[in-house]
């Protein structure tokens, strides 16, 4: 029971971090059709910006300010980079963001050095939030969940309840009509790209302080981020929310379970030992393959439901 509760909490909180990270990517893709390869780099930038700002103004102001800085940078990148590349099609845009990712990587290395920086959890978030049996649930993780949920709420309200949200929705489905009605669609694009990167920046602040702020912090996230977006259905925020939670939970529970095919056969009454054919495969435990499960999910999803969980793409 203890294990179940803790795994549930771990899975949900990690899933929410993944959602923070991938929501910006989904937003940008759904509106602009740009698969932003530099998204994880903006995530990293958020962490470093918050680290540097935090030294001067404290963690909580930096938590607000760093995403804004990253968002501003994102908006500039859209205005002076992406928009120029846009007429040459999606491949050019893809290559542009791909190159940008490397560029940001190098900037971070030159600016902050090759090793991790000591970006620490602020004193207010030290220690356990509550204790489940013997395991402590850290305040930081609770904070991570809170920020993600607030962000989800804010983005949802912004898109559905405000005028700018209506324009964004209109520009998403009928860009020419929206433009004909006098709305500045390129500026909407710039806002969305800036907003999307700001969300990545926010995720970076939380991820950087909860885990590690180092130049390689983005590397391990790029593939998993794309899994979330594809499984969620590419253009659906709600979809990527579900996909994030699903992946967080799958990983968290799979690691804890030492099930194997051999064990299953044993339970069914088939004796399995070192001489059984395919023994190395049979003894493979679920926990050992847990990190690959999201990719398995990706492949299965593309085979059986290519539009993703909540995707709207007609096939």
């Amino acid at each position: 029971m203890e294990f179940f509760v803790i795994s549930l909490l771990n899975g949900v909180s990690y899933g929410l971090l993944l959602f923070m990270l991938s929501s910006g990517l989904t937003l940008i893709f759904s509106l602009m059709g740009v698969l932003n390869f530099a998204h994880a780099a903006f995530y990293m930038m958020g962490a470093y910006a918050a680290y540097s700002l935090g030294l001067k103004i404290g963690f909580f102001p930096a938590l607000i300010l760093a995403p804004l800085v990253v968002g501003l940078l994102g908006a500039l990148v859209e205005r002076y980079g992406l928009r120029t590349v846009h007429p040459y099609g999606h491949v050019a845009e893809l290559l542009f963001t791909f190159g940008l990712a490397y560029l940001i990587d190098e900037i971070v290395k030159v600016g902050w050095g090759l090793t991790a920086v000591p970006f620490r959890v602020p004193a207010a978030l030290h220690g356990p939030l509550f204790t489940v049996y013997a395991t402590e649930f850290p305040k930081m993780r609770g904070f991570m969940m809170l920020v993600a949920l607030l962000m989800l709420l804010a983005v949802y309200l912004l898109v559905t309840r405000t005028r700018i949200g209506l324009v964004i929705q209109a520009a998403l489905t009928h860009p020419h009509m929206a433009e004909a009605l006098g709305h500045n669609v390129p500026r909407v694009f710039m806002l969305v790209f800036g907003g999307g990167t700001a969300l990545a920046g926010l995720a970076g602040v939380i991820g950087g302080v909860a885990f590690i702020t180092s130049p390689s912090m983005a590397d391990s996230l790029v593939p998993i981020m794309f899994v979330v977006v594809v499984v969620g259905g590419m253009v659906s925020l709600a979809g990527s929310f579900l996909a994030s939670l699903l992946i967080g939970l799958i990983q968290s529970f799979a690691i804890g379970l030492d099930w194997s095919l051999g064990g299953l056969l044993d339970a069914l009454g088939v004796a399995v030992n070192a001489h059984t054919p395919l023994y190395s495969l049979l003894k493979l435990q679920l926990s050992a393959v847990a990190p690959t499960l999201p990719y398995l999910l990706l492949v299965l999803m593309l085979i059986f439901r290519p539009k993703g969980l909540l995707g709207t793409r007609a096939d």
Binding site: A116, V117, P118, T131, T135, E136, S220, A290
Partner: protein, 411 residues
Amino acid sequence: MFNLKRAFGALLLSSSLFAGYAHAQTVKIAFTDPLSGFLGPVGVNNMHSWQWIAEVANQEHWAGKLKFEIVPYDNKLSPQETLNVLKRVEDQGIRYIVQGDGSSVALALSHAVTQYNERNPGKEILYLNYAAIDPLLTNGNCSFWHFALDADVDMKMEALTSYLAKDKNIKKVYLINQDYVFGHDVAKAAKEDLARMRPDIQIVGDDFHPLARVKDFSPYVAKIMAAGADTVITGNWGSDLALLIKAAHDAGLKANFYTFYAGTTGVPTAMGSAGADHVFEVAYWNPNNKKFAGADIVKGFKKKYKDDYYTMASYSGIKYLADAFKQTKSTDPVKVAEAMEGMKIQSLNGQEEMRKTDHQNQQELIIGKWVKVNGTTVKFDQENTGYGWETVAEIPAYVGTLPTSCQMKRP
């Protein structure tokens, strides 16, 4: 004018006496390891360690008039790239090569050097391996041209378990390692050693996770807690170790962590206070050893590179070479290699011996505990964290001395 003439004459005389010795006033040593990418920071720190010791050796005249010069090459942690580096080293006539990060690289390099030396008599290259610790290197795949300065996995585990075995409070041990050859070596050695020294200890978990890909270790920590482990043994390094220790601290796991690499670049910063009093490391040296041997070197290194000196194998390595140069009055790798076999030197951890049968350095190992700097037993911190290694045990060399299956082919 007269003085100049005499000096010139003396120079001529000495060069005829020590042909090939006095001529080569500077011995170039190629250094190859990852200097960019994921493990770049570690490689750069290691490179500085060698450069620093070369500088110290030159100032203190370890090898008389001979000077050491380290020539760095980036091998990007790739065996293929390392072989390209070796080609360049051959072309430039450098006769000594140093490498350490990655056993896969070391195995490839050892093989390539041996092959090159067989085919090019008179141009032999000597390979000093300061950190790759797969036991294969000095057993099944041993080579006359390869010298292992670091203790291998089995030796370190032997030292670690001999220390751990004395703690009667340890009942349940959990093994968590990276899923590649080194991680499996560690898990295997831990299981064997524990079964021999403390059969009553229960191994409650044996997990492997992908190398440098896991961001959130809390599910692993939940599993360790569910298993009721009081001790964790891990060969993890880099962010895999820092994240594991951080997650354990956050979840309130009170278990002790026995590690190989908690002192390497980047881990102390990321670990910080989270690891305090719970993290142990087995190594050949740390700056807070009982005699504080090497304090000047640590201080000088910090001043010059703004970084911490921990690759003490660079000290031993240059010392072995310097002593062998002096003993043979030559810098010919064949003579030097022969002289180094069975040679004893004084290093920062006391006397070391390069065992003749397999070229595995035999040395004292020490167990360090991650604690707050206190000015008495812990004077040096790491990466300005305010925490450093307190020496809790010095394990004499004989404890870690293991038999070898090496069948050395000598030229």
